[in-house]
Symmetry: C2
Subunit: 246 residues, 2 copies
């Protein structure tokens, strides 16, 4: 499905940005790059910045005009740094990714990025069905072209993973949690040791034990962790006993 999505860079001036865009795309599983009249390509700088995404650069389509690049597409989305008064539906990157992934099931989609210094012109935006704006800081909206491709590619991958129900992260390895009986035996043991070392006295012990119960209740230790805590208590008692013998 991601193969139905082309990233189209219109007249990019810096080859490094082309390479960075290729790398950004590949990390997110996109493969179709199209360059409209690039100033400097192929280029060693682009290859260096692609950092292993050479296949994307090698397979990139080079077009003379935007119309040529869009010819076989049924759905076109334009990225815009400014929120301009074009009469086009305007969405954030997340909503945009939802639309693109939905369309890309059956249609060829182009996501187009303008030249670094000026973005897409109004004439270029008029070819789009949808406009996307990355909601940058109003006081510093200077998003690098490669970074913009990274953000949009990331959102496309997230949306694809969510649709495929494949976003779930592996759960950390955990042991069975200690049950309440284990915990009560621990609190008894802890109480006993804290009395032995003189940390608790008869006036304070209830209040302090309540605080310690709250702390360990929040932790919810597993059985392995609890056996470590129990071990510390036992070892403390062993030391005290051998000290007393001296």
């Amino acid at each position: 499905m991601l193969d139905n999505i082309s990233i189209v860079l219109v007249n990019p001036s810096h080859p490094g940005n082309i390479g960075a865009a290729a790398r950004a795309m590949k990390t997110m599983g996109l493969s179709q790059l199209c360059l409209v009249s690039p100033d400097d390509f192929p280029s060693g700088t682009a290859t260096a910045l692609a950092s292993g995404a050479d296949d994307i650069l090698r397979n990139a389509r080079i077009c003379a005009t935007l119309d040529e690049a869009l010819a076989d597409c049924q759905f076109v989305v334009g990225t815009s740094a400014r929120v301009r008064g074009v009469s086009l539906p305007l969405v954030d990157p997340r909503a945009c990714a939802q639309s693109i992934i939905d369309e890309a099931v059956t249609q060829k989609v182009a996501l187009i990025f303008g030249r670094e210094d000026k973005g897409l012109t109004n004439e270029q935006l008029q070819r789009c069905h949808l406009q996307v704006h990355i909601p940058t800081n109003e006081d510093f909206s200077s998003l690098n072209l490669g970074a913009a491709v990274q953000v949009m590619s990331y959102e496309l991958r997230m949306q694809q993973l969510i649709n495929a129900d494949a976003l779930e992260m592996p759960k950390p390895r955990t042991h069975e949690l200690a049950n309440m009986d284990d915990m009560e035996r621990y609190y008894d043991h802890l109480h006993q040791v804290l009395m032995e070392i003189g940390f608790l006295d008869h006036s304070s012990h209830e209040k302090i034990m309540a605080k310690l119960r709250r702390l360990y209740g929040r932790v919810r230790p597993d059985r392995v962790e609890l056996s470590i805590l129990r071990g510390v208590l036992s070892e403390t008692q062993r030391c005290l006993a051998s000290d007393n013998k001296k």
Copy 2:
């Protein structure tokens, strides 16, 4: 609230990545950068890549150790390129941003990124409360350090905007939509012109008009658009009439 979030780069090797990270942060409204034992900083390359985010570089805290960088933080999140068997809760960037933004209301939060070539070590991850993994392509997970900072900074800004109910994009300027009476008058006019130019005949006109109704029904033109469409019809009739006079 974003001021309570520090981006911590542990032992970064390339000054360009430090600059790109600063730029990425500033575009998303983050300002607190901390560098743990950078190989090469300050650096002209960092300043060039920051592309105007010099203030972030100038105000960056430089620490000798990770412990020094984290000393005043209450919540620490580690980024990890690989999904490792560390017994830490592991989340995707979106869920991570939710946690961080929630914590940052009252706590100081650090989001730490490892060295370019090896990421965070297990020892460094052990200082974290949460681990985040950007779900890259399994066959090409080589995300540039600046790009990783860009993705995480973007998610933090999105979450902040969502919480502040400030993500809504401006609606395109539209005129009042045509009502059904306007549309019926248009279809009458269209039918008349299509008969006059001989596009419709008595056998086909119902079927074709039904298709045209479906098309314009989908378009839902506004009043200005409909008056343009009506103007085209009127002008066609005017031309036909003047041709007939010749």
